[in-house]
């Protein structure tokens, strides 16, 4: 539905990828760990290897949780923008199809939050 406006309407997008200084915004959520309250946002270069997301970016925030050290990354299930996917760790975020403001969710079988409470 088009916007109803008095005299036309400006065409302006505040969060264009160009505004992020070479980065793109990537959103990451760990399913069944609601101590995090929400997905977390990171500005990352699109050429960053997916492996670096797993080895550097994700731990920088998600190691806040006691269960983080128990994650078996080989068994982790990934979801990109609503679709299950198997990331190629050696390829970049962009090559893996991670776009500006993509949402990556991961699930860790066997780890379902503190005492299994999904927090």
């Amino acid at each position: 539905m088009a916007i109803v406006a008095k005299d036309g309407y400006i065409d302006f997008v505040r969060d264009k990828v160009e505004n992020f200084h070479g980065n793109q915004l990537v959103l990451v959520s760990w399913d069944d760990h609601l101590l995090f309250c929400a997905a977390q946002a990171f500005p990352l270069p699109p050429e960053m290897p997916f492996a670096a997301l797993v080895s550097e970016v994700i731990p920088s925030v998600f190691n806040w949780h006691d269960e983080f050290k128990d994650i078996d990354w080989a068994k982790t299930q990934w979801n990109l923008d609503g679709e299950a996917f198997s990331p190629d760790m050696d390829k970049s975020l962009a090559e893996n199809g991670v776009e500006h403001k993509s949402l990556i969710r991961f699930k860790t079988p066997g780890l379902t939050g503190l005492n299994g409470t999904r927090i």
Binding site: F12, R14, L25, L27, C37, A39, A41, I119
Partner: protein, 508 residues
């Protein structure tokens, strides 16, 4: 012979309708350029009825009397060190959120009504909006004056207007106000006067004002009373404008329904902050958010829409979800504030054992099952000295701008609710179907949203690190963090002759 005294009706007519005229040098459409483009058809502005029939001279008189009383009480509160009689200094978190979140919204509403007070073609509606413009300004002013006393004794109250334009959670009320202000005049008044003030205002004012009374805050209770008679006039204006528009032309119905759907959801999301204030920040809580929602929305709102059904108006879209969320809302909001409590301008704290029991009682289906474990976990970590705040930035909803903390309450309350869409090749995320619908109806508007997290990453908020951003927010180091580690807590203990803090929080 002395002039005959006019009756109230006649005076009202002369002092409102008597001041308008049909222009001849300029076209009426040029003099009133804003009241047609939204598509609302008005055939006869004279049909506008003002149930209060208040004239400006009477208005000044009433307001002056209220001001006199209010300021007498504020003075006496200050002279008697009323701040020492509060239930607890942690209660001030509610006041801090109010002055930074709500007071700037009152001021924004003043702008909006001043605009309508000039630009509605009908002089009856113009005069009513002019009075409301002054009311809103007065509310902002009396709130600042009342709360300025607390600013002498407590942290976090020093820069509410500056912070309103910048802080991550204050963008929630700010963006709601600006959404309404940047719309046309009929949508603005539907948003503020009807969706917010008529349908939902009791959910803000009742808990806040009776909350103040329950917690020994006579100053705030008094400004609440001083505003209350204005609020009832505003509510009447909200209902009158809706009925007026609906009676003027049948084509107005779908437009108005769309605005009610949108602004109900927008205003309800703003009230998520109030739910946390009510259930968690108030030391003594007069009623739970769920109880207030059931009375003021489910019962009263339901009756209102039943009455409006004769015009063809329906309950706002997604109202069932709001009702289903009532058992979850405050817990989810307070959790995020506790996790990010180093980045708030008020103090956070896990609920006391008594408070947790109260929450269990008020929320028998949800609190123990879903929410108690996280508060107990953090509480234990604080006791063990292992607690750390979450040092990251959350995903925000493109429309309400709240971190995407809401869950699938109807199907799986432990699953975050993710909604998204693409517009012109870019991804956009929403916390709910309500916010997604709003975006999809007017994507051109919401792609402009100033989302605090995205602005930080674009380098527009003082720096890339949390301390730099907090400095840019003008958050002083003593403003945030755990209540039991705070200057406010220490001062409170000193006032009440307790040497050592009764309880300590974390080292953070």
């Amino acid at each position: 012979m002395a002039a005959k005294k006019l009756n109230m009706r006649k005076r009202y007519e002369l002092l409102t309708r008597g001041i308008g005229w049909e222009t001849s040098y300029q076209k009426m459409d040029d003099v009133f350029p804003y009241d047609t483009f939204e598509g609302i058809k008005i055939t006869d502005w004279d049909k506008w009825e003002d149930p209060f029939r208040l004239t400006m001279d009477a208005y000044w008189k009433f307001q002056a009397e209220k001001e006199k009383k209010l300021y007498a009480i504020i003075d006496s509160f200050a002279q008697n060190n009323g701040q020492t009689n509060l239930a607890d200094a942690s209660y001030l978190s509610a006041i801090k959120l109010f002055i930074t979140g709500v007071t700037p919204l009152e001021y924004a509403a003043h702008h909006g009504f001043a605009h309508l007070g000039r630009h509605f073609r009908g002089e009856g509606a113009r005069v009513a909006c002019q009075m409301q413009a002054i009311d809103e300004l007065r509310h902002a002013q009396t709130q600042i004056h009342t709360i300025s006393h607390y600013n002498k004794h407590f942290t976090g109250l020093h820069d509410p207007f500056y912070q309103s334009d910048r802080v991550w959670y204050l963008s929630v009320p700010k963006s709601f106000g600006e959404d309404a202000l940047s719309a046309g005049p009929f949508e603005f008044i539907t948003s503020i006067s009807f969706a917010f003030e008529y349908v939902l205002t009791n959910l803000l004012f009742v808990p806040f004002m009776s909350g103040a009374a329950y917690n020994g805050d006579m100053a705030t209770t008094t400004f609440g009373f001083s505003a209350q008679s204005d609020e009832s006039r505003h509510m009447t204006l909200g209902l009158e404008i809706i009925k007026f528009m609906l009676e003027q032309h049948e084509d107005n119905l779908p437009i108005i329904q769309g605005w009610i759907d949108k602004h109900f959801w927008r205003a309800y999301r703003v009230l998520a902050l109030v739910s946390a204030m009510q259930d968690y920040m108030l030391t003594n809580t007069p009623m739970s958010w769920k109880e207030a929602w059931d009375i003021y929305f489910v019962e009263n709102g339901g009756a209102l829409f039943e009455d409006l059904g004769r015009y063809g108006l329906k309950m706002p879209k997604h109202h069932e979800l709001a009702t289903a969320e009532a058992e979850h809302l405050s817990h989810q909001v307070w959790s995020v504030f506790c996790a990010l409590g180093n980045a708030t301008g008020f103090h956070t704290f896990e609920p006391s054992d008594e408070k947790m029991d109260w929450l269990s009682e008020k929320y028998p289906n949800t609190f123990d099952k879903y929410y108690r474990p996280r508060f107990e976990h953090w509480k234990k970590q604080k006791e063990d000295g292992t607690f750390e705040y979450l040092a990251s930035l959350p995903q925000l909803c493109q429309v309400c701008q709240i971190p995407m903390i809401f869950t699938e309450v109807k199907t799986d309350p432990m699953q975050l609710s993710f909604r998204n869409t693409k517009f012109k090749g870019d991804n956009y995320h929403f916390c709910s179907d309500g916010c997604k619908d709003i975006f999809e109806n007017e994507p051109e508007k919401y792609v402009q949203a100033w989302l605090p997290v995205h602005q930080i990453f674009q380098g527009n908020c003082g720096g890339a690190t949390i301390p730099e951003v907090l400095k840019w927010y003008k958050f002083e180091p003593e403003d945030g963090g755990d209540y039991f580690d705070s200057q406010d807590f220490r001062r409170w203990q000193e006032w009440h002759g307790k040497d050592e803090p009764a309880k300590t929080g974390s080292d953070n």
